[in-house]
Amino acid sequence: MSNNNQITLDRDGKTIWRFLVSELKPKGKFLTPFNIISIPIMLLGLILIVIRFWKGLGSITNLTQDIPWGLWIGFDVVTGVAFAGGAYVLTFMVYILNQRKYHSIVRVTVLNGFLAYVFYAGALLLDLGRPWNVINPIIGNSFGTSSVLFLVAWHFLLYMIAELIEFSPAVAEWLGAKRARKILSSMTIAAVIFGITLSTLHQSGLGALYLMAKDKIHPLWYSEFIPIMFFVSSIFAGLSMVIFEGSISHKVFSSQISEKNHHSQKNIVIGLSKICAGAMFAYFFLQMLVFIHGQNWDLLNTPMGYWWLLEMLGFVLLPMILFFYSYRSQNITMIKVASVITMLGIILNRLNVTVIGFRWDMAIRYVPTWMELVVTLAVIFTEIWIFRWVITRMPVLRDSPSWAHDNK
């Protein structure tokens, strides 16, 4: 496999073309359990997407006039982007704070973040009623600058470009393009600074989207601090995803990872769990401050109040303690458990703001159709397919080719 990457390509393009075609072919066993589950779901999702564009949004979703945003926005976009937050946190630690020990997982995290944006922001297109006008806020005289969504849309676009630049040296190494790699690597730090700035704004911007829905969101989840909550929680949401994804990658793509990086993984995970615990403490503290200032004590003794307590105690406080404790005791398994609970908590929180707590007082509640779920799963599986395709071809988990170190 590594020979493939060392191919020195001619400039005439034909060789590159042949190389790309050969790389498009699948590698490894085809009938894995993951493939057997994911392929039918992806095909079904594709059919549903065709129906959606043929018959309108109402044909496969349960959206109503009162609840215009459902699972596709609340989960795919809002939750998916929170999980992609690991990229900006890690690039901050590695490139800005210069914490070298995390360097080996930066590429895979940035790739993960980039694909998450492409697919989850891409899922936004499925939700648009008039997708042919999606270009309007980018070009022409239709700048709705007073809109938070305008900001978020632009940031998605710019951040995708920034992450692509951050990841591009890996592509150049794969193609054996030495000169291009040199140029692209030199752009990394600028892309990182730009990317972190964009992230602070659009992670919080996703929360700010809901500021005008003041009378529609349950008061335990609505406050003018939603943007800050979303930003702070994206830090540990992203890092939990990094821990979770890392523990899977180290099993599935074990052969890709060098002996040295296998060993350093433990150290990395423990370092990340410390940051998670810290960020979660800040988040929990903020939530409590907002709760006390909101003077919503009477709401606690209601079904929604119990639900809120479950989220705060079971999915923020508990994993925070687990992270802290397992950091002290160097317990990797417990860190993984904590990261999974944290991720569930993030899903819960984002859905509570966007779907469950949105119009909680309506007689007819929104429950997604099975078709919305299948499309969501299809999007996730497609992303994992692309992720796997890139991992097995480009130097993401494995070390860069030797020439890449020389021309730094």
Binding site: Q65, L128, N133, M212
Partner: protein, 290 residues
Amino acid sequence: MGLNRRGFFKLLGVTGITLAVGKDAVAAPRGKNNDVEFYGILYDAARCKGCRGCEFDCADAHGLPEPLPTKEIQANRKTSDTCNTVINSYKTSKGEVFSKRQCMHCNEPACVAACLTQAMHKTTMGPVTWDGNKCMGCRYCMVSCPFDSPKFEYHSVNPKIQKCDMCFERLKTGEPPACAYNCPNEALLYGKRRDLLNEAHRRISEKPDLYIDQIYGEHAAGGTGWLYLSPVPFEELGMNNNLQQASYPALTTGFLYAVPSIFVLVPAFLLGIYQSTKNNHLNEENKDEQ
């Protein structure tokens, strides 16, 4: 016309503020209550007999399907993607009272602030209109609107946002909106919002026993183009009387105003840390060597 001292200072102040705050400052006061020459409609629930004529006129004027024939008028019908206005009937402390529902045409509409393509537009005359050539169907206007006015055609391949546009096409030719023009009971009055408020206050002071002393829409959500008079508290007409008095776009201005400063400060901050830490690993290596 000479420029006297007071006028000069006024001009100086306005110029200064404009230079300092830019376009927003000029736009903002126009949205403030009572300074506006927006047009609106005054709905008098005490006069409405519930004939639903406005529903039919509205459907006719907008090419929408004719409303279902008059059966028992219900309490909680809502406008929909095929129906821009409904008349509901409520059993209240003063007997049956009717109430009309449609887009309220806020002075500072949440939907307009929410729209990222300027498809939702507050015209200078007052109506809030929708432009299909710009709209991308994201439905953020529906999420933001405190009155749930915009409705979306979920079962269309080319879905439109439907809501009352105060018959903007008619207004441009000088005709009043279809519902106000045809109302047989004079329950609907079209005019400048300022005049409508005066008229509403006049009616309240003339018949204080008939009306409650509140004009719905005078302050709610920063003021709306539609104004309501009622013989009973508005809660009894199924209306949300707890809406904030500030405009809804004001809820996001804090966030949006922070954006430019974050864009300047964060990169500078990051660059500073980067510069101060970029040689850290060299120090560590040196230490190792020593």
